[in-house]
């Protein structure tokens, strides 16, 4: 018999004895459970403005730099000024209508991760510029997949991750985000789906927050109106 069969047999034997649902034996009534997680999780406002305000507040808390801008021209201008002040020498990005418009305007060599690329070259890039699937107001997270954001490494290897999002990509919470993933990809999921919340961080030394542990030290999000 294979180990698979051995383990499953032991599981089935163990489960011949049943256990009551949690709280069933408690003398006082247990708090009621619901499958509508929205009503349990931290509250999110119903309107777009409230959700945007919450995303902004969460970003400030997380030390994410969050900008609402008018259009792609405003992003180009901002990035051009950082290119000069921070002396960027190389950027990394992927195919996408927003990313391409911005990356081509900077006049720097671009490491593209949607074809075969060199890890060393990506590591040496000053920024990773990506699009995303959604922004989540409840948690201040960016939802990306390796299909929407140029693979697995682009959003985590360069020291500065810059995300370009469209106005209609802001969703209220995690339940809505999982709904979106299911609707968008059906059963053909990208092999990596990631919720990125703030720059990379650690608290492993005396529980003191340090940004830039292994991933980006900086996370910048542009929301295009």
């Amino acid at each position: 018999m294979s180990e698979r069969e051995n383990i499953l047999t032991r599981v089935r034997e163990a489960l011949t004895v049943s256990t009551p649902k949690p709280g069933a034996k408690q003398p006082c009534k247990a708090a009621s459970a619901t499958r509508d997680f929205r009503s349990l999780l931290p509250a999110v406002g119903a309107t777009y403005e409230e959700q945007l305000a919450l995303f902004r507040a969460n970003s400030a808390d997380l030390k994410t730099d969050f900008y609402c801008v008018k259009d792609v021209e405003a992003v180009k201008a901002q990035l051009a000024s950082w290119r000069d002040s921070e002396k960027w020498r190389r950027i990394a990005s992927h195919a996408g209508s927003l990313t391409e418009a911005v990356s081509s305007s900077l006049g720097l060599p671009v490491c593209r991760t949607d074809a075969a690329y060199s890890t060393v070259e990506l590591e040496a890039s000053d920024i990773g510029l990506t699009e995303c699937d959604a922004l989540i107001a409840q948690t201040g997270s960016v939802l990306i997949t390796n299909r929407s954001a140029g693979g697995r490494a682009l959003s985590v290897l360069p020291p500065h991750h810059i995300v370009l999002a469209r106005r209609n990509q802001l969703v209220s919470g995690l339940p809505e985000a999982f709904q979106l993933i299911k609707e968008k990809y059906g059963s053909n999921y990208p092999s990596m789906i990631s919720f990125i919340t703030g720059p990379s961080r650690t608290g492993d030394i005396e529980r003191i927050l340090v940004l830039g542990a292994h991933g980006p030290k900086k996370l910048t999000i542009f929301l295009l109106e």
Binding site: T19, T34, F37, L41, N146, E206, A213
Partner: protein, 464 residues
């Protein structure tokens, strides 16, 4: 020396170590405040706990069905799934993959299951370079120690100690500023990432519905481990399954809230396969190793089965008065604190590990803290009962028989605890704190409060 004797010896040292107590208190102070704020931000934390407990109950009590669903979905996308009944089998499966791939260096992101099966020892014995990438785990690896805490592996160390460690082991420690020290580790580990042939991760959840593995982290090290090496291996316990993808909408924020007092962790990533056609990076091969290692023995104990609901958030450790005083290493187990005391007798044998059930005040703080409502202190009580049933001690049996005789006779009981107690206390100073003292276990380090000259009942009877 038995494990029980070792525990007692180490606990005696640690409880007297005031510096250690201070470090733990400082490390957890901010966590406690923010955790409670985050809990309060939930519209109903109690209902969320109930929903989480019911979801885990459903998963664990239909484990065969959900495991098969999970595995079928994974295999359909080209992932190789392995089953390991024991820790040794899990190590052997991983070594086999290493040999096949002719791998020389391995980068690991945090996995408590790999501590459980002593994977690093096995890999190093086979001549591989193994590097832990989680900062806390990296520090513990340099110190040749096991993690002190499930979530905060190096919580018991000060920045000064970490600086000295880096200076000695890496020859690089510019200051004892946590930012500088983190940067040193980042630089060292970046090189290892680019060189590594193989990446090994753990997992937080396994989604049956979609065949995905969910990994929670803050540093981005698991993201890199799953992106750069050509081969990826994920080692996880069979109890990690959740039925549906949407369940994560509840579990991810709950885990972050009680685990590290965060709204949600920095990176929550779902993997459903190796590199797919049309994708440009990620591992060419992904192996998922499902580990039993006596989890089925715990499953068979219907009374304690809910201990398999555990999501390894570590919150029961943080509130436990025993853990906070004896520290993580005293337990001598992979999983320490209240949850470790509950599951270790199942995973490693009741005879050697039953003493952990007595390392508890039964105060119930752990059960209260648990996000999936594991009734931890009652589980400890049951373990005590089981261990006594397995091998009762004649003098304990006799003592309780005697106690029952007295406690069932009210006048006798009342006389003994008032008159008898006062009489005893008058002569107590003659033997107090010596081996002749019947209360020696208590009085060698503590004072017994004097019995009041008048009991409440006496006062009530005599009031005018």
């Amino acid at each position: 020396m038995t494990f029980a004797a070792q525990f007692l010896k180490q606990a005696r040292v640690m409880t007297a170590d005031l510096r250690h107590r201070q470090i733990i208190r400082t490390a957890l102070r901010n966590y406690e405040i923010v955790r409670d704020q985050r809990k309060a931000a939930f519209q109903s934390w109690e209902s969320a706990r109930q929903a989480a407990a019911e979801t885990k109950w459903e998963a664990v009590n239909h484990l065969d069905k959900y495991l098969e669903q999970f595995v079928a979905k994974l295999e359909a996308r080209g992932t190789k799934v392995h089953w390991a009944s024991t820790g040794a089998q899990a190590s052997e499966i991983i070594l086999q993959i290493v040999r096949e791939k002719k791998a020389r260096s391995v980068i690991k992101s945090k996995a408590m299951t790999s501590e459980e099966v002593h994977l690093n020892d096995a890999l190093e014995k086979a001549g591989l370079e193994v590097v832990e990438s989680d900062l806390g785990e990296f520090i513990m690896q340099l110190r040749h120690e096991t993690p002190y805490h499930i979530v905060f592996p190096s919580m018991h160390l000060t920045r000064g100690e970490i600086r000295e460690l880096f200076q000695k082991e890496l020859g690089d420690a510019p200051s004892d500023n946590p930012e500088d020290l983190t940067l040193v580790a980042r630089r060292v580990l970046r090189k290892k990432y680019v060189q590594a042939d193989l990446g090994i991760t753990g997992a937080n959840f396994a989604i049956a519905e979609t065949g995905m593995v969910s990994i929670t982290e803050n540093e981005g090290n698991a993201r890199l481990t799953a992106a750069l090496p050509k081969t990826m291996i994920t080692l996880l316990g069979i109890e990690k399954v959740l039925p549906r993808l949407e369940d994560l909408a509840l579990f991810l924020p709950m885990l972050a809230t009680v685990g590290a007092a965060q709204l949600i962790s920095g990176y929550n990533t779902l993997y459903s396969g190796p590199r797919q056609p049309g994708e440009t990076d990620g591992p060419e091969e992904w192996h998922v190793v499902l580990l039993d290692n006596r989890r089925t023995a715990l499953l068979a104990d219907a009374e304690q089965r809910d201990a398999l609901h555990c999501i390894r958030c570590g919150s029961c450790l943080n509130v436990c008065p025993i853990y906070r005083n004896v520290g993580g290493h005293t337990y001598g187990t992979t999983y320490c604190g209240p949850i470790g005391a509950v599951i270790t007798p199942h995973l490693r044998g009741l005879r050697d590990w039953k003493h952990l059930a007595y390392a508890s005040t039964l105060c119930g703080a752990c059960a209260e803290a648990c996000p999936v409502k594991i009734d931890l202190h009652h589980r400890l009580l049951q373990t005590r009962r089981n261990s006594v049933q397995a091998k009762p001690r004649w003098w304990e049996k006799l003592a309780f028989k005697g106690f029952a005789v007295i406690a069932n006779r009210r006048p006798l009981w009342r006389y003994l605890i008032t008159q008898g107690g006062r009489l005893g206390q008058r002569f107590h100073p003659l033997v107090k704190g010596t081996r002749l003292d019947p209360a020696y276990a208590w009085t060698k380090t503590r004072e017994l409060p004097p019995i009041a000259p008048q009991s409440f009942k006496e006062w009530w009877r005599n009031r005018s």
